[in-house]
C-alpha cells in the first residue's frame, strides 16, 4: 500500500454509498417530522390585500398557519444582504414571508405546517389570498425604461452601477484607444437565463430540544457555518445553542450558497415555537420559481484593434438582470466585468455595468458565476476581429495572450474579493497548442470539405477563459489521530458531490504517511468544525485542501517529536510510512502512529490495553516536567487555517466541432475537446469528472436551457418537461488534456477546478455554429428553431 496518493486517480470513496441508495439526503431524515408547505405568489407583482385562511383551518392534521404578521423580532425584518458593495446603492432583499408586496411569481406568502406534506398542500390550496395586481417589469429592456418600478424607492430599477477603467500605455483611455485604432467594431450580444437546477432541491429539517434550549438544523446548503450564524441571529439564540449540519447534498452549483433562505429561518422558528420537529423539502416547481436563476445579460461592445488583431481598446457596457432582490450583492456582474479579459492583455479597458431589478426570480451565482457571460463577450469579440481581418481565429487569440514570462500579471482591476486581479501563473500559448492538436484545428478545412462533399455542414469553434478560484477569506482543517491509528479529518465547508471524502483523504494520507483506508473525512458539520466560509467559487480544494495539509503537518511534527522520544532518535531522522514512524533507512526502529497517539495523551485511567501504556505508572516521563508540557496539548491532533493573499487563477481552452442539419436546423456536437490547467492535480479522475459535469451544464446553457418568462412574469417552463436540461444523450464525449502550472500562492500549488467546465461552452458553441453556418451569432442559447429563423433572415 503506497501512501503517495496525491496526484493519483483514486476512485471516489463516497460513490459506493451514494449510488447504492445509502446516501442521507435531507428528505431521508426526519421521518415523522411535521411538514411545512408554502403558499407562493401566483403573480409577478402585486399588493396583498387580504389573506383568508378560514377554509384551510378545517383540514385534518393542520398544525399552524403563519403569515408575515406572525413573525417576531429580527425574523420580521428583510433577509440579510450578504455581500454589500459601495456600488450597490439600492440593494433590496425579501422578507421571509411577503410583507404587503410580492415581486415575483413564487415568492412565499403563507407558511403552513401540518402532519404531512399532503395535508400541508391541501391546506395551502384552501388559503385565499386577494391581490391587487401591479404592473410587472419583465425583461432587461423593459426594466431600464424605468416606466414601472420593481421597488417604489429604486428609480430606474437600477440597483447598482459600477465602472472600472484600466488605462493603456501612456495613460490612454479605452475610448481614446478605440477611436485611434486602425480597425473598430461595435455590436450587441445577448445571453439568456438558466439556473443551477441541482437534482436535490433545497430542504431544511429542524429539531428543538426544549430542555437544553438548543436547536439542531439540517439544511441542504453549501455553507452550514454561516446558516448557523444566520439562524442564531434571526432567532435570538446563543451561537453555541445552534448546530447546523449539511447532510449528503444532491448538488448545489451556487444556489445553496445563498442563505438564509426564508425556509432556513422559518422552519427552525416553527420547530421551536411548536416544540415539534419540522421539515420542508423543496419540490421541483418551487425550485424553479422561488430559488435563484443566473446568466441573463445584454452586452454592448466596442473594440479597437490593429492589423494583427491585437486589441488596443475594449469598451463594454453590461446590463445585468438581477431579478427582484439582491441578497448576494453584485458578485455576478463584478465577475463578468473583471474576468471578461480572460487570458488576454488588452491595450486599455473600460467596463461599465448596471445591475437591474425585474419582477423575476432573483439572480445569484450559478457555476461559472458571471464568467460564462464574460467569456462569451470576449470570445465573440475575438471571432469578430478574426472575421473582420480574415485571419485564423486562434491566431488572433494568440496575438493577444499574456505570455508565460509575464506572470504575475496584474490586470489592473478589482476582483470579487475586493483584492487586485493578479494572475499568479499560467501558460496560455502551450494550452492553445495542446488544444489545436487535440481537436485537429489545422486539418479541419479538409474535414469540412469532406463533409460538404457528402452534403453535410460542419463547423469548428474555440473559446478560452481564465478563472479566479480559491477566494478567501479562509478555511480551516482539523486532523486527529486516535489511539486506534485512524485519522479523522474535518473541515467546515460542505460537500455537494465534489468528492471531498476522497481528495481530502488523499491529502491527509500523503502528508501523514498513512493508508487512505485509515482516513475519514467530515465536512459541513458545525459540531466538528465551527469556522468556515463555504463551498463555492471553485475554492474547496484550494482552501480546505491546503488547510488540511497544514493541519496534517502540525500533527506530523508532533508525532515525530513524541516518537523521537520513544525511539530515542532525532526527529529529523524520522519518517512515517504506512502508519509507522521509523528511523529513515532503519525499518526495525519504529513505532506505530497509533501508539504515538496513545503516548500523546497522558492518562490516569486505563480502559484498554493501548490506554494502559499511557497511564501514570506506565509512561516513562520525566519527573521534573508536567505530563502535558507548557505550550502543549494532549492528543495527537492539529488544527490550521489557510487564508490566501488573493485568488489563484486557473485557465482552460475548449474547442468543438458541430454539425448543423441543412434541412431541420438541428445542431449536433460531434466532438468536444478541453485543455484544462488547475495547477497541481490532487486527483485527475475527479478533475475530469468536474470538467465533464461542467461541460454538460454548459451544453445545457448553449443549446437547451432558458427561463421562458412571458410578459406577465409567468415562468412558462417551470418543470423538467419544458426546462430542457440535457440528458446523457445530448452531452458529447469529452476529450481532455491536462496542463499543470502550479500556483505559487499556496503550499500544495493547486488551483480550483469546480466551475471550469461550464465557463466557455456557450462561446465555443456560438463560434462553431457561426463557422458552420456563416451566420453571425449574437444570442445564446441557440435552438434549431432559432437557427432556422436566422437562416430565413439571411
Amino acid at each position: 500500500m503506497t501512501t503517495k496518493l496525491f496526484g493519483e486517480p483514486v476512485r471516489r470513496r463516497e460513490d459506493d454509498r451514494l449510488i447504492t441508495g445509502r446516501g442521507r439526503y435531507l428528505d431521508d431524515l426526519g421521518e415523522g417530522a411535521l411538514a411545512a408547505a408554502f403558499v407562493r405568489s401566483p403573480h409577478a407583482h402585486a399588493r396583498i390585500l387580504d389573506i383568508d385562511v378560514s377554509d384551510a383551518i378545517d383540514v385534518e392534521g393542520l398544525v399552524a398557519i403563519y403569515t408575515w404578521e406572525d413573525l417576531p423580532g429580527a425574523l420580521a425584518e428583510p433577509l440579510p444582504l450578504l455581500i454589500p458593495h459601495p456600488a450597490l446603492t439600492h440593494g433590496r432583499t425579501a422578507y421571509p414571508l411577503a410583507r404587503e408586496i410580492v415581486r415575483h411569481v413564487g415568492e412565499p406568502v403563507v407558511m403552513v405546517v401540518a402532519r404531512d406534506r399532503y395535508l400541508a398542500e391541501d391546506a395551502c390550496a384552501l388559503i385565499r389570498v386577494d391581490y391587487e395586481i401591479l404592473k410587472p417589469v419583465v425583461g432587461i429592456e423593459e426594466a431600464v425604461r424605468g416606466v414601472h418600478l420593481v421597488h417604489e424607492d429604486v428609480p430606474g430599477n437600477v440597483g447598482a452601477h459600477l465602472v472600472q477603467e484600466v488605462a493603456g500605455p501612456g495613460g490612454v483611455t479605452a475610448r481614446e484607444a478605440i477611436d485611434a485604432a486602425p480597425h473598430t467594431l461595435e455590436f450587441r450580444l445577448d445571453i439568456e437565463r438558466s439556473a443551477c437546477t441541482p437534482l436535490e432541491g433545497k430542504g431544511v429539517y429542524a429539531r428543538w430540544d426544549a430542555d437544553d434550549e438548543s436547536l439542531r438544523v439540517y439544511s441542504s446548503t453549501q455553507t452550514s457555518t454561516s446558516v448557523r450564524m444566520a439562524i442564531a441571529a434571526k432567532l435570538g439564540l446563543p451561537l453555541p445553542k445552534v448546530e447546523v449540519i449539511a447532510p449528503d447534498v444532491g448538488g448545489g452549483f451556487g444556489v445553496k450558497i445563498v442563505h438564509p433562505w426564508p425556509e432556513e429561518v422559518l422552519v427552525p422558528w416553527a420547530a421551536r415555537l411548536l416544540g415539534r420537529e419540522v421539515k420542508w423539502t423543496e419540490d421541483r416547481r418551487e425550485h424553479f420559481v422561488s430559488s435563484s436563476h443566473e446568466r441573463g445579460q445584454v452586452q454592448h461592445v466596442r473594440a479597437g484593434f490593429d492589423d494583427e488583431g491585437r486589441v488596443l481598446g475594449l469598451d463594454v457596457e453590461i446590463l445585468h438582470d438581477h431579478g427582484a432582490y439582491t441578497p448576494y450583492g453584485i458578485i455576478v456582474p463584478i465577475i463578468t466585468s473583471t474576468q471578461l479579459l480572460g487570458p488576454y492583455k488588452v491595450g486599455a479597458y473600460r467596463v461599465e455595468f448596471s445591475s437591474i431589478y425585474t419582477n423575476t426570480v432573483q439572480v445569484t451565482p450559478y457555476r461559472g458565476a458571471g464568467r460564462p457571460q464574460g467569456v462569451y463577450c470576449m470570445e465573440r469579440t475575438m471571432d469578430r476581429i478574426a472575421a473582420h481581418l480574415g485571419r485564423d481565429r486562434t491566431e488572433v487569440r494568440a496575438a493577444n495572450f499574456i505570455q508565460p514570462d509575464e506572470f504575475p500579471y496584474d490586470q489592473g482591476l478589482t476582483f470579487q474579493d475586493g483584492r487586485p486581479l493578479i494572475y499568479d501563473s499560467g501558460d496560455y500559448p502551450e494550452a492553445l497548442r495542446l488544444l489545436k492538436e487535440l481537436i485537429g484545428w489545422d486539418s479541419f478545412p479538409e474535414e469540412r470539405a469532406r463533409a460538404a462533399a457528402e452534403g453535410r455542414r460542419i463547423g469548428i469553434g474555440v473559446g478560452c477563459y481564465v478563472e479566479g478560484t480559491g477566494v478567501g477569506p479562509y478555511e480551516g482543517g482539523h486532523v486527529q489521530v486516535t489511539s486506534d491509528g485512524r485519522v479523522h479529518v474535518s473541515t467546515g465547508l460542505t460537500s455537494q458531490g465534489q468528492g471531498h471524502e476522497t481528495v481530502f483523504a488523499q491529502i491527509a494520507a500523503t502528508e501523514l504517511g498513512v493508508p487512505i483506508e485509515k482516513v475519514s473525512v467530515v465536512t459541513g458539520d458545525t459540531r466538528r468544525f465551527g469556522y468556515a466560509v463555504g463551498t463555492f467559487a471553485s475554492r474547496a480544494a484550494v482552501m480546505s485542501g491546503n488547510a488540511i495539509a497544514l493541519a496534517c503537518r502540525k500533527v506530523r511534527e508532533k508525532a515525530l517529536r513524541i516518537a523521537a522520544e520513544a525511539l530515542e532518535a532525532d526527529p529529523r531522522d524520522l519518517e512515517i510510512t504506512d502508519g509507522m514512524v521509523h528511523v529513515a533507512g532503519v525499518p526495525s526502529a519504529s513505532i506505530p502512529l497509533a501508539t504515538v497517539a496513545v503516548l500523546s495523551n497522558p492518562l490516569r485511567y486505563a480502559f484498554d490495553e493501548e490506554a494502559r501504556r499511557a497511564t501514570q505508572f506506565a509512561a516513562s516521563g520525566s519527573d521534573d516536567r508536567p505530563p502535558v508540557a507548557e505550550g502543549e496539548e494532549p492528543g495527537l491532533e492539529g488544527r490550521d487555517y489557510y487564508s490566501p493573499i488573493r485568488s489563484t487563477f486557473a485557465a482552460g481552452m475548449h474547442a468543438a466541432i458541430v454539425e448543423t442539419d441543412p434541412d431541420t436546423a438541428e445542431i449536433r456536437i460531434l466532438r468536444y475537446a478541453v485543455v484544462h490547467d488547475c495547477g497541481r492535480l490532487i486527483n485527475p479522475m475527479i478533475v475530469e469528472g468536474q470538467i465533464h459535469g461542467g461541460v454538460a451544464q454548459g451544453v445545457g446553457g448553449a443549446l437547451y436551457e432558458k427561463m421562458a418568462y412571458d410578459e406577465h412574469g409567468q415562468l412558462l417552463n417551470a418543470s423538467f418537461m419544458d426546462f430542457l436540461m440535457p440528458y446523457a444523450t445530448e452531452v458529447p464525449h469529452i476529450e481532455t488534456a491536462h496542463l499543470e502550472t502550479p500556483s505559487p500562492l499556496n503550499p500544495l500549488g493547486i488551483k480550483g477546478a469546480g466551475e471550469a467546465g461550464v465557463i466557455p461552452v456557450s462561446a465555443v458553441i456560438a463560434s462553431a455554429v457561426e463557422d458552420a453556418e456563416g451566420i453571425t451569432i449574437t444570442r445564446m442559447p441557440i435552438s434549431p428553431s432559432d437557427l432556422y429563423a436566422l437562416r430565413q433572415d439571411r
Binding site: 398542500e121 390550496a125 416547481r285 438541428e666 437547451y704 430542457l724 440528458y727 444523450t729 428553431s785
Partner: protein
C-alpha cells in the same frame, strides 16, 4: 407536488371496474401506466375524486397480432408492444413509433391505450392509430362500442371516451401487401415530445406506382393531422416521385402553433422536411428496400 385527496379503487374484475367507473361518473379516472396521470395529479392540474386502478384486472394486457392487424389491450405496456415479434411482423410502424416514445423507463410502465386516451397531439401513438385508420374499443356497464380513430381524437387532450367508460383495447389494422412505413420526428432532446413529426404509409401497385400514400403529423394541430397524398404522388413509378413537392402539399394542410420550443413557421417547415423523408423511406420499404 402532492396530489389532492382522492378515493382509490383497485377492482380485480372487469365488471367491478366498470361498476366503479359508472358510479364515479365524471369524477372517475382510470389509472393504467400512470405516466401522464400521476404527474398531472402531483402538479394538481387534475383532481379526480376517484382513481380506478385497473392493473389488477386480468386479461387486459393482450397483444394479438394477425394478418388483419394488431389488437393491443388496455394494460399492454409500450415496451411489450415494442418487443412483440408478432406486432413487429404485422405492423413494423408500431416498433418504429414506439422507439420514439419517451425513454425506456417510461415505456416499461406506460401503456399504448393510455397514450391514446390521453390524446396528446404531440404523442406518437395517436398519430399511428389515425394514420392506419384504427379504432378504440370502449366498454361501460351498458356495453361496448368501437370508435374509429377519426372520431376518437376530438381535441388536444380530449377523446371520445365518456364518463363511466374504460378503453379496453385498440386495433391497429395491417396494411396491404407492398406497403411500407416510416416515422420521423425532431425532438429537442432524445425522447422528448416531438417539435414536429411525421408518420408515413405508402402502398404500391404491382407496377410499383403509388397506390396509396398517407401521412399523419404530430404537434401541428389539435389532433393528429392525417393527409392523403396519393393524388399528389402522380402516376409515375414511386422511385421517381418528387417527394419534396408531395411534402409541400402536407405543409399546406397543417396549422401549427408556436410555443417556447419552436415557432409555428419552423414547425411547418419541419413537417415538410420530415414528410419528404418519411414518404421516401416508406416507399423504399414498400419496395422491400431499406432506406
Amino acid at each position: 407536488m402532492k396530489p389532492p385527496p382522492f378515493d382509490y379503487h383497485g377492482p380485480v374484475t372487469l365488471g367491478e371496474a366498470l361498476d366503479v367507473l359508472a358510479e364515479a361518473g365524471p369524477g372517475g379516472k382510470v389509472l393504467a401506466g400512470g405516466q401522464s396521470l400521476i404527474p398531472l395529479l402531483n402538479m394538481r392540474l387534475a383532481a379526480p375524486a376517484h382513481i380506478v386502478d385497473v392493473n389488477r384486472v386480468p386479461g387486459l394486457d393482450g397483444i394479438e397480432a394477425g394478418p388483419e392487424g394488431v389488437r393491443v389491450g388496455a394494460l399492454a405496456r409500450h415496451a411489450a408492444v415494442e418487443r412483440s415479434p408478432g406486432a413487429a411482423a404485422a405492423l413494423p410502424l408500431l416498433r418504429q413509433a414506439l422507439r420514439l416514445v419517451a425513454h425506456p423507463v417510461i415505456r416499461n410502465r406506460g401503456t399504448v391505450v393510455g397514450s391514446l386516451v390521453h390524446a396528446d397531439p404531440a404523442a406518437e401513438m395517436p398519430a399511428v392509430l389515425a394514420l392506419l385508420g384504427g379504432s378504440v374499443r370502449l366498454a361501460s356497464r351498458d356495453g361496448e362500442r368501437e370508435v374509429p380513430a377519426a372520431e376518437f381524437f376530438t381535441g388536444p387532450m380530449e377523446s371520445a371516451l365518456r364518463p363511466g367508460e374504460l378503453a379496453l383495447s385498440a386495433f391497429f389494422p395491417a396494411l396491404p401487401p407492398r406497403s411500407g412505413t416510416a416515422f420521423y420526428e425532431v425532438a429537442r432532446r432524445h425522447g422528448d415530445y416531438a417539435v414536429a413529426g411525421v408518420a408515413a404509409a405508402v402502398t404500391l401497385d404491382e407496377d410499383l406506382r403509388v397506390a396509396a400514400a398517407r401521412v399523419a403529423c404530430v404537434s401541428v394541430g389539435p389532433v393528429p393531422v392525417v393527409v392523403d397524398v396519393t393524388s399528389a404522388c402522380g402516376p409515375g413509378p414511386a422511385a421517381a416521385a418528387g417527394w419534396e413537392a408531395v411534402a409541400g402539399a402536407v405543409q399546406d394542410r397543417v396549422d401549427p402553433e408556436g410555443d417556447i420550443h419552436a415557432t409555428a413557421e419552423y414547425r411547418r417547415h419541419l413537417t415538410g422536411v420530415l414528410a419528404a423523408r418519411a414518404l421516401r423511406d416508406a416507399a423504399l420499404a414498400a419496395r422491400g428496400e431499406e432506406s
